[in-house]
């Protein structure tokens, strides 16, 4: 392949444009109420999309080996940013987490950058330390210390969703790199203990778990979001209400253009909307995995798969929350949810994959 993967590019563009269209429908009522401008979110997302395409174009032209070279610097910057963002006055609080740098409605989340930064670093680390993979002290442990300290910094914000995605994408790279299955079993047990620990220090997380099993137990509290989401998906059957006709966007589902945009898609387009979204993500997954499989460069292989896994895993987590399969974690749907910083980082990530696709 000497050319970039056009199917992948088109899929990304389709997802983003569908996202912009749905952001308009989901947010017009709220935007009109809050900003007196139904197109407020639509316009911002459109601008971010255009910037994102430019970034994607530029990144896809940068040789991916640059990241190999600067992996340590990138990781160090991420560390610093994650520490900085925790300082009151520097980082600002949004939706309960101190995870933003920004002025006004524009903002970037260093944790988004950290996700990609850590994948770059881990890919390099694992590509270089192939021989020590199953030697705990020389192989995995140092990497894990780095990963867990970044995870810890993100949890201080706190942002469980992003933290989990970050952790899982590194674990996925460890998994494919050939680390012994025993490690994952041990890790799994540690993970469960970790989750129990996290619940003990912040009991609201327990409520999220119980409310996911029966949201009506706490209808106005922890179960509220999932109930509102089900009220969007369910009542109109397989066909949906049609574009712009969502009822739940009328202040029932809070800020429907972000985490719960998929609810509005399912409300307006029914099962068809769901199939379009899941289908596009499946194509995205398939194309990126194909690139990963075709890579001969180990660093590139890990990098492509890490990015791919991270995007798809985030999408799956979001979709499963929205349809009530797992507790609410507060992650957005890549490319579709409203959010500039997230979209730009996703475009940046895809740009890297596209560049790699050219080099195999």
């Amino acid at each position: 392949m000497k050319k970039i993967d056009k199917t992948l590019l088109l899929t990304i563009i389709a997802l983003s444009i569908f996202g912009i269209i749905m952001i308009y429908s989901a947010s017009n009522i709220w935007a009109n109420y809050k900003f007196n401008d139904s197109f407020h979110y639509f316009k911002y997302q459109l601008v971010f999309f255009l910037i994102g395409i430019v970034i994607l174009q530029i990144v896809s032209r940068i040789d991916y080996k640059v990241y190999y070279k600067y992996a340590n610097v990138i990781l160090l910057s991420c560390f610093l940013l994650l520490i900085l963002v925790l300082i009151p006055g520097v980082g600002s609080i949004r939706n309960g987490s101190r995870s933003w740098f920004g002025i006004g409605s524009l903002g970037i989340q260093p944790s988004e950058a950290a996700k990609i930064g850590l994948i770059i670093f881990s890919s390099k680390y694992l590509a270089n330390n192939n021989d020590y993979l199953n030697n705990n002290f020389k192989g995995i442990i140092p990497l894990l210390i780095i990963v867990l300290s970044i995870f810890g910094l993100i949890m201080l914000q706190p942002d469980l969703g992003t933290g989990l995605i970050l952790l899982m994408s590194i674990i996925s790279i460890l998994f494919i790199s050939g680390v012994n299955i025993k490690f994952f079993i041990g890790g799994g047990i540690l993970g469960i203990l970790g989750i129990i620990f996290l619940i003990i220090i912040a009991p609201y997380r327990m409520n999220r778990i119980t409310s996911f099993i029966n949201p009506w137990n706490d209808e106005l509290g922890t179960g509220f979001q999932i109930i509102q989401s089900l009220y969007a998906i369910g009542p109109h059957g397989l066909l949906g209400t049609g574009y712009l006709n969502s009822i739940q966007k009328h202040f029932y589902l809070p800020e429907p253009q972000t985490d719960f945009i998929f609810s509005i898609i399912a409300e307006e387009f029914g099962i068809l909307g769901a199939i379009i979204v899941v289908g596009l993500f499946s194509i995205l997954l398939y194309r990126t995995v194909r690139i990963a499989l075709n890579c001969t460069d180990l660093f590139a292989k890990y990098l492509v798969f890490g990015i791919s896994f991270q995007l798809i895993f985030q999408a799956i987590m979001n979709l499963m929350v929205v349809v009530g399969l797992i507790p609410v974690t507060g992650v957005t749907l890549p490319f579709l949810s409203y959010g500039g910083s997230s979209l730009l980082i996703s475009m940046f990530s895809i740009g890297i994959i596209l560049n790699i696709s050219k080099n195999i």
Binding site: G234, G237, H250, Y252, I275, V289, L293, L298
Partner: protein, 633 residues
């Protein structure tokens, strides 16, 4: 080799993620196919706001279809605060129109609620007020129809019909007992709103209210009117503590009329004492019946063949000794030698003591039970009493003796009329009822009450003898002032001393009269009781019977009871008018006519010697010295 291993693991994760994505689609299908209706219902509740449209309450009708309880349509004000744009203006306008202070109205207009009822100022608005509010055309201000219960005849049948509260919920009587039938299904105007309460542009739906079911009573309004009229007379004449009247059809147990004094107006029941409201005396009151109970004793005695009332004699010395207690007859010196028919005509207490003794306590009390005393009759009304009858093991000779003439036991009026109905209808004890049927708003009868036979108590022969005896009481005995010329009336008076704390009160009586019409085949059993009448002789025959007679006349008219001639002729008293049947004098000459018309005054019209026409006609009964008009040719 190493790379292949990596690729294998990539494929594993790829498959895992594809499975998870498929799982999401499956879950969506599950939600949209299987949880669809549940979620739809819940979500509709969330999205839609209902402006309730009150259903009309079912009507209550008499047996002829006359409306005893209906509804007045009124308008009420409803606010949807979130839809009101100019709250200040709306508050000002509404406070002006409704004559409410600005601050008071502000509470309603600014209230954080989806739908606010302006209560009570905004309820039951006049047409003019409603029109003025409507003219303002403010958004979020709604006028909805409400209906208010109305009792067009005020006090008539108040205790039985009952009354409703402000929200049209039945609180008493039929209104309470049959609330679930009378209450309709409220309708609504349903509109979609956002979470802030603003109306969405999705179409409104209108669900029309369904009126409640109509209840037709067995009551005949004309008999009821007669009872109410005489209750008012009783109140004016005697100022009694209480009074009650009840009319039943002995052939099936239908209540034709029932009335209580003191009464109330259900249109504004709040003004009355709760004791007045709750006591439907004909079914609630429980007291010593007195002589009317002798009907039961005598029926039992005849049925058991212990006496032949026409042939057997009893000598009344004026008193009788039972176990050392002396029981006196009401007539000092006694009635002397009498047949048992005369014993009941004279209401002679010692005679009934004798009947009680002849029967013995087992038999007498088994009849008392069989006639339904001591247990509720099961009438379809709330608040029925059951009376008190001695348990058999506590009946001594004195208790047997007094029970036989109606003392020492406690019964309800409804028990008495049902027992007497059984006495006169051939022996059948029926369950009384007041609801004839229930019909829905398409006039389809969905429920109908029919006569319920509880048991046969006496034979038709005994019943027939008793009818004769009761007719004889009115013609010759204590019921004389109820006698109606041309009609066969049976009856029995009663005067019972009231008991308080185990002692008889002096000069405090319940006077009663039990009657049947026509006596040969009764269509009505009527019972009247007056508790502690003032300014009257302490004998029921002077107090109750003249009033009962007026009601009986009305009953005869309402039930279309034909005139009959074979009645027992009344014994004359000094103040009784003598009546004669007018003979036929047409085609007779004047001299002949004069002889035939010896008891009458003749008025001659026209010239000639032959009578061409007479008025009244031959066969009519008129009083002594009445005028007979003759037309001569």
């Amino acid at each position: 080799m190493f790379i292949r291993n990596i690729d294998k693991r990539i494929k594993i994760l790829f498959l895992l993620m594809i499975i998870l994505l498929i799982l999401v689609i499956i879950k969506i299908c599950y939600i949209e196919l299987f949880e669809y209706s549940k979620l739809n219902n819940l979500a509709q509740d969330l999205w839609s706001r209902n402006l309730e449209l009150k259903a009309d309450r079912g009507k209550i009708l008499d047996r002829n279809g006359k409306v005893l309880a209906d509804n007045l349509t009124t308008t009420s004000l409803i606010l949807v605060p979130n839809q009101i744009k100019n709250k200040k203006q709306v508050t000002t306008d509404l406070s002006k129109i409704l004559n409410v202070s600005y601050s008071n109205m502000k509470k309603h207009v600014y209230k954080k609620t989806s739908i606010e009822r302006v209560h009570p100022e905004g309820r039951r608005l006049s047409y003019e007020t409603a029109k003025r509010i409507n003219k303002l055309k403010h958004s979020g201000v709604y006028l909805i129809k409400e209906s208010k219960r109305n009792y067009p005849y005020d006090n008539l049948l108040a205790h039985t019909i009952g009354y409703v509260g402000i929200d049209n919920q039945g609180l008493s009587g039929i209104e309470l007992q049959y609330d679930k039938y009378l209450t309709g299904e409220d309708g609504a105007i349903k509109y979609y709103s956002d979470a802030h309460g603003n109306k969405l542009t999705i179409n409104d739906t209108y669900v029309s209210p369904i009126s409640g079911m109509n209840i037709t009573l067995t009551i005949d309004i004309n008999i009821q009117k007669s009872l109410e009229r005489e209750m008012n007379n009783i109140r004016d004449m005697f100022n009694p503590d209480m009074a009650l009247a009840i009319v039943v059809n002995p052939k099936n147990g239908e209540i034709l009329g029932m009335s209580s004094l003191p009464s109330y107006n259900p249109n504004n029941y709040q003004k009355y004492d709760s004791r007045i409201l709750s006591r439907n005396l004909p079914i609630w009151a429980s007291y010593e019946p007195g002589s009317t109970f002798k009907i039961v004793t005598m029926s039992s005695a005849i049925e058991e063949n212990v006496v032949d009332i026409f042939k057997d004699h009893f000598y009344d010395s004026g008193k009788v000794k039972v176990d050392g207690s002396t029981l006196k007859c009401w007539k000092a010196g006694g009635h002397g030698d009498q047949t048992y028919l005369q014993v009941i005509e004279n209401s002679c207490n010692p005679g009934f003591v004798k009947l009680g003794q002849l029967l013995g306590k087992e038999r007498l009390f088994s009849y008392i039970n069989k006639f339904g005393f001591g247990t509720k009759t099961g009438i379809d009304l709330n608040g029925e009493g059951e009376g008190i009858i001695f348990p058999l093991n506590r009946v001594g000779n004195v208790e047997l003796a007094t029970s036989a003439f109606g003392q020492g036991i406690s019964v309800t009026p409804i028990q008495q009329v049902m027992a007497v109905s059984a006495v006169v209808n051939g022996g059948y004890l029926y369950k009384p009822y007041i609801v004839k049927n229930i019909s829905d708003n398409t006039n389809t009868i969905i429920y109908e009450n029919n006569k319920v036979l509880k048991r046969r108590v006496i034979s038709s022969k005994t019943s027939s003898t008793m009818r004769y005896a009761l007719e004889s009481v009115v013609a010759k005995g204590g019921g004389k002032s109820a006698y109606i010329e041309g009609y066969r009336i049976g009856g029995k008076t009663g005067t019972a001393q009231k008991v308080e704390n185990g002692k008889y009160l002096s000069n405090n009586y319940i006077m009663s009269f039990m009657s049947i019409v026509p006596a040969n085949d009764p269509d009505a059993v009527f019972y009247l009781a007056i508790d502690n009448p003032k300014h009257t002789a302490m004998l029921s025959s002077y107090t109750t019977t003249p009033i009962a007679r007026r009601i009986l006349l009305d009953i005869i008219k309402v039930l279309n009871i034909p005139e009959q001639s074979k009645e027992i002729t009344k014994d004359l008293e000094w103040n009784d008018k003598v009546t004669y049947e007018v003979p036929n004098v047409i085609e007779k000459n004047y001299e002949e006519a004069k002889k035939l018309l010896i008891n009458f005054e003749i008025i001659k019209n026209g010239t000639g010697n032959i009578v061409s026409y007479q008025s009244p006609k031959a066969g009519t009964k008129v009083e002594d010295r009445s005028r007979i008009r003759l037309f001569m040719k």
